[in-house]
């Protein structure tokens, strides 16, 4: 019996936005239970890779393929991909007037509750809400409207906790968050990535964009990738790569990668 260990397989991917190539030659393989980190300077296409994996229409795949759970999802809609178990926490999500945070937390339960007629959050979800330092009145607010930087990030993680994806992408979950809340966010990212289980028993995986790498003090990663000019220039042990970047900058790190 063959056990499928690979959750996400990206092979030879090239992506265009407004007819301009942003990503090319991307190969990325993430196994079940693994956490990968995506590093790189501003504007190299880290978020573009996320949106391409999500299948946002603006991001046109011109070459290569994306497999998720062994299935080709290269041409599936965002809705179908999400249904298969892909989730994301956005860096700058839009505010939507009249759509409450609570409405988004209820999406998963909505189908069941149409039958039961329930309109409140499940007690379990309410507990998670409180754990993310939100109260009943906060989740009645229009999503992201007037949220502080930290509230946006906590709300993104909270929505993912309700959604329970098998593969989660985190776009700078720690930027603009104070130290105390970074630890809280990291703790729940760990929950989303099955870090409370032994490595061999972990099922869920993640890909994380971080600028400062500070959150990696709390979230253990298996592999780091450096994205430069739309290509993965270097992959390896997260601690070593971060160390290199701190000493030599992104350029130095990539040069080091190329020579070895």
């Amino acid at each position: 019996m063959v056990v499928v260990k690979l959750l996400l397989e990206i092979t030879d991917l090239a992506v265009e936005v407004n007819e301009k190539e942003i990503l090319s030659d991307i190969d990325l393989y993430i196994e079940k239970g693994e956490t990968h980190v995506l590093l790189g300077p501003n504007g190299t296409g880290k978020s573009t890779l996320f949106m391409s994996i999500l299948g946002f229409p603006k991001y046109k795949i011109t070459r290569g393929e994306i497999l998720f759970k062994g299935k080709d999802i290269t041409h599936l809609s965002t809705t179908e991909r999400v249904k298969m178990g892909i989730g994301v926490s956005f860096q700058n999500p839009p505010a939507i007037r009249g759509v409450r945070l609570k409405d988004l937390l209820r999406i998963e339960d909505e189908k069941k509750s149409v039958e039961t007629g329930e309109k409140d959050l499940r007690p379990e979800l309410m507990d998670i809400t409180r754990k993310m330092k939100f109260d009943e009145s906060f989740i009645e607010r229009d999503v992201n409207l007037g949220f502080s930087g930290g509230e946006v990030k906590r709300s993104e993680i909270l929505q993912l906790l309700a959604q329970k994806p098998d593969f989660t992408m985190f776009d700078e979950p720690d930027s603009g968050v104070d130290i105390e809340n970074v630890e809280l966010i990291a703790q729940e990212i760990n929950t989303l990535l099955d870090k409370d289980k032994k490595p061999g028993l972990r099922e869920r995986s993640g890909l994380l964009i971080t600028h400062l790498g500070y959150i990696l003090n709390f979230v253990g990663a298996n592999t780091a990738h450096v994205l430069m000019d739309g290509k993965i220039a270097c992959s390896g042990d997260p601690t070593e790569i971060l160390e290199d970047i701190r000493k030599e900058g992104f350029k130095g790190c990539v040069e080091c990668c190329e020579t070895h």
Partner: protein
């Protein structure tokens, strides 16, 4: 006086309205008062009527209501009121009771404004009379229902609403048509009089049929320290609605608020405005409209703030979403400042659903259609300000219900 009024009405009989498509009233049938039998309470209505009025916020069980009024076509069929501090009756009875009532006729709306006001007078129309006695603090709302029961009738009504000094009055009005009525016309003249320190909230839900022409005519005369809050909700198909309620903020510190939710569907032509003449010292007005156009609908949303004296304030806001290429939203905000030291402002935006918002919701597991519909519902479900908590919650539910089909 009476002769003068009738003469003016006679002269204006053919006068077209300043706005909206012209409707030939002669094409519709005139029905007499008394065609529909009187009932003790809305509980005596046939089930099909009950279901219909419930959709426009009129509760046939009458629970949580201070009183109920219903007019079917030209007949005032029901008026009951359990509140000691509120008088509710049809206008014919009100004239018998209060000899002074004629003093309130046609002061807030000119009888010769157009052919519709003229027709309302010439037909000697019924309507409702609501009066909150001085100091009344009734938290339960009065519900009033204008219902078109027979095919092709032209319904007219002349309503007088008075809030005496320091009285608080909450009114829910639902307007609807019977299931087999497709074509009809409704003209409702409503004159509001707010005395010193009075407050009226007036929440109106319209749910007419596809071939119904609607021409409400509303004027509000406001005394010192009075507050008038109007909430208007229309999201179902109708042939045409044209209305431009006007608040005369004459009293010092008087305040008028108009909040409107408009959903255009099918071939509906909605021409809805609100106007405030700010003449009282420190008087103010606030107008907020949310409009969504679908199918081949046309929505005109108008607002006119006229600052006529110093220290007045007004703000006008209109947000529109155009959801189909064949539909239209025409937003006309007007500011008129004719004194120094006043503050009038407006913001208007007409656009489409932001793709970024749709994608955000899709990334949480909704389909594109589900996401768009959640955004539209959210857009229309503005927070209605100024209602007592229970009524606010009920109104919110009513809005949710009305916007579900959008």
């Amino acid at each position: 006086m009476l002769r003068n009024t009738l003469e003016r009405a006679e002269k204006a009989k053919k006068k077209p309205a300043a706005l909206g498509g012209d409707v030939d009233i002669e094409e519709f049938e005139q029905e007499e008062e008394g065609e529909h039998e009187k009932i003790e309470s809305l509980q005596d209505l046939p089930k099909s009527y009950k279901d219909t009025v419930l959709k426009v916020g009129v509760d046939p069980t009458e629970q949580g209501r201070a009183g109920s009024f219903m007019q079917i076509d030209q007949s005032g069929v029901c008026s009951n009121c359990s509140s000691e501090s509120i008088e509710l009756m049809n206008m014919k009875d009100a004239f018998k009771k209060h000899s002074w009532l004629s003093d309130y006729m046609w002061n807030a709306v000119p009888v010769d404004a157009d052919k519709y006001t003229a027709e309302t007078e010439l037909r000697n129309s019924n309507g409702y009379f609501i009066r909150a006695l001085p100091g009344a603090k009734e938290t339960f709302p009065i519900q009033a229902c204008m219902f078109i029961g027979d095919k092709n009738v032209a319904q007219t009504a002349h309503n007088i609403i008075i809030a005496e000094e320091n009285a608080e009055l909450n009114i829910i009005t639902g307007c609807s048509t019977g299931a087999d009525v497709n074509s009809a016309m409704h003209v409702g003249v409503s004159e509001f009089y707010l005395k010193k320190g009075a407050k009226i909230t007036f929440t109106m839900v319209h749910n007419w049929a596809e071939q119904v022409e609607v021409r409400p005519r509303t004027g509000i005369i406001m005394g010192d320290d009075s507050t008038y809050i109007s909430n208007y909700i229309l999201t179902s198909p109708v042939k045409g609605v044209q209305t431009y309620p006007t608040a005369y903020c004459q009293g010092k510190n008087s305040k008028a608020v108009f909040q409107s939710i408009l959903g255009g569907q099918k071939n509906s032509v909605l021409d809805q405005g609100s106007r405030a003449y700010l003449t009282g010292k420190n008087s103010s007005a606030e107008m907020v409209t949310r409009a969504v156009s679908r199918d081949e609908s046309q929505i005109y949303t108008r607002g006119h703030l006229a600052g006529k004296s110093q220290d007045v304030k007004g703000h006008l806001e209109c947000m529109g979403l155009v959801l189909s290429d064949d539909s239209m939203i025409y937003s006309v905000p007007e500011l008129e400042g004719s004194a120094t030291n006043l503050e009038l402002s407006h913001e208007a935006a007409v656009g489409k659903i932001a793709e970024e918002e749709v994608l955000y919701l899709m990334s949480r597991g909704l389909t594109e259609e589900e996401a768009a519909s959640m955004i539209v519902r959210g857009f229309l479900s503005m927070d209605i300000k100024g209602l007592p908590p229970k009524l606010a919650a009920e109104t919110k539910r009513m809005i949710d219900m009305s916007t579900r089909g959008m």
